[in-house]
Symmetry: C2
Subunit: 331 residues, 2 copies
Amino acid sequence: MRKSTLEEVAAAAGVSKMTASRALRGTPDVSSETRQRVLQAAEQLSYIGNRLALSLSSQRTNLVAVVVPSMSNIVFPEVLAGISAGLEGSGMQAVFGISDYDAAKEREIIHDMLSWQPSAIIVTGLDQPEETVRMLKSAGIPVIQVMDLDGDPIDFNVGLSHGRAGEEMARALVGAGRKRFGYIGSALERDLRAAKRKAGFEKVLKQNGLHFVEQQIDSTFSSIALGKRLTTTMLASVPDLDCLYYTNDDMATGGLFACMELGVAVPEKLLIAGFNGLDLASALPVRIATSRSPRRVMGETAARLVREAIADPDGSHQKTIAFTPEITGIT
Amino acid sequence: MRKSTLEEVAAAAGVSKMTASRALRGTPDVSSETRQRVLQAAEQLSYIGNRLALSLSSQRTNLVAVVVPSMSNIVFPEVLAGISAGLEGSGMQAVFGISDYDAAKEREIIHDMLSWQPSAIIVTGLDQPEETVRMLKSAGIPVIQVMDLDGDPIDFNVGLSHGRAGEEMARALVGAGRKRFGYIGSALERDLRAAKRKAGFEKVLKQNGLHFVEQQIDSTFSSIALGKRLTTTMLASVPDLDCLYYTNDDMATGGLFACMELGVAVPEKLLIAGFNGLDLASALPVRIATSRSPRRVMGETAARLVREAIADPDGSHQKTIAFTPEITGIT
DNA sequence: TTTGTTACCGATACCGGTATCGATAACATT
DNA sequence: AATGTTATCGATACCGGTATCGGTAACAAA
């Protein structure tokens, strides 16, 4: 079956294109009898409007572009789900792109997305290179940067400070009496937020006259398996650590599993700390420490800002919405 | 900064719209000097082409619509990542929609997506209601149904048989000497593939003169926490089960955690079986049985089919690509 | 009867690109 | 000098809708 156009629907209903358009959109100025005929013709031809034409003509799209770095970690899909849910009922539609933690690819994806003339764009983090920032600024639409808070926002900003999250976690752990710290990380040169957490953590360690006794940083991305492997290696060479800080909960969970297999008592002998507050982490048979980040809520909040900014483009809106991660799992 | 148009770029370069268009697209018939001027003007105005106009005019989009039921389970993001990766370099762009396991919502989303005139559409499963099927058929583009295999495909089909996956798992478990089976599920009325697995499993049990001694099915969606809770409840009332089959690995993992807290020996006393073959499952300190489904590969395969079907619309292509899940974790 | 109103509908321009065809100038060929 | 070629560019139509304005018929009011 070939795609049918409004023209064809109109012809089938014996009216003009314009009248058909009005009938389908529910505009007034159409007799209910005519409307009926058009609706029927459209149904009959299984007509689906052409949004390209609609958007081009009306000079507005219902698109919200969203760029996230990855889909392999549940964190970003959760943000997307939040955005998608937060947009529901607004007539707006999210379009996603994956940058694979690659700045060049991100630039390219943003460019592609902008060419679809979205009404707003949501990007992850505040660390876009200058050229990307310029592109975003010149797009003339609301730009929402999510997840992070450490940096200069382009426009709107929804997130939490990863630097502070690292600091707080370190403070809590030092406060709990831990002294011999190790760090296990992954892909820090690409996951800049994880790097910020580590930096914040180290800063507080230093303030307390402490430091990471041992570090193990892999260049691949975080996973449970990687956390398990690196932990096994590290505990073999430095068995007397009493606290391990990880990139995130996935890595930390792998660490916990390693400990369970090695028979290392968690948290008595070794405290394990991650980041994110995954559902997984709270269901674990042994508690690990984590900073709970409101991922879905951040997505929903970003969506709300988009709706507000579009509903009232000239209004003065709150530009920054900060979340504070709650630390759990330290007793 | 206001969005600039090709017209403006052309004016700035002192040429016609048409020449500017050619220069930017790298078409021949433009002197390198003129091309240079246009490129410079475009750069200067930070011009970004309008894909709406492009696609409307050229009558082709680079869009591939994708509809998945959820983002809360890592399974679907992985499929999306596979699709996204498989499309890379083709100039095509995936657009995602989330149906929340709701047939009505799915219908609506598919309708919305089709209005963007995608070049192909990928949907999850084979169980769309008749009206949705009609809509997909009349779209006149390649339709790829992924994940499932049990049913009548509209066009292309990439997936595995969940009915058989359930059967195979049951055969393996019965073969391993298990006799007293329990089932723990979630949202089966919406997650039809999980229901198919259960049906297949039960069929084989019956063939062996067995049945589920106890069932516990919640109406909410699968999660580790839910698996843990339901397992704790079930083991309290029926402690002598020797095998538990779950909706999926998330639920099964929760079950394992419950067992670890209750001190139930896994797998000696109780064997735990899920589905998916998540990374999580293989990193667990105790092995659980699972059927490994090639989620990312299914996404990549779907993307490949899309590319082939679009590159050669009239060619005869293989319509169905079947995967067989590998069972692991039974010793 | 004339004049307003109102309800309904159509003609036309336009959104921002691309496809197509034709025009022009410069140069080579006969 | 006349004719062909080639390289380069522009004018126009069109993609499929919507915005805008104007037209017609029916009916009410004066």
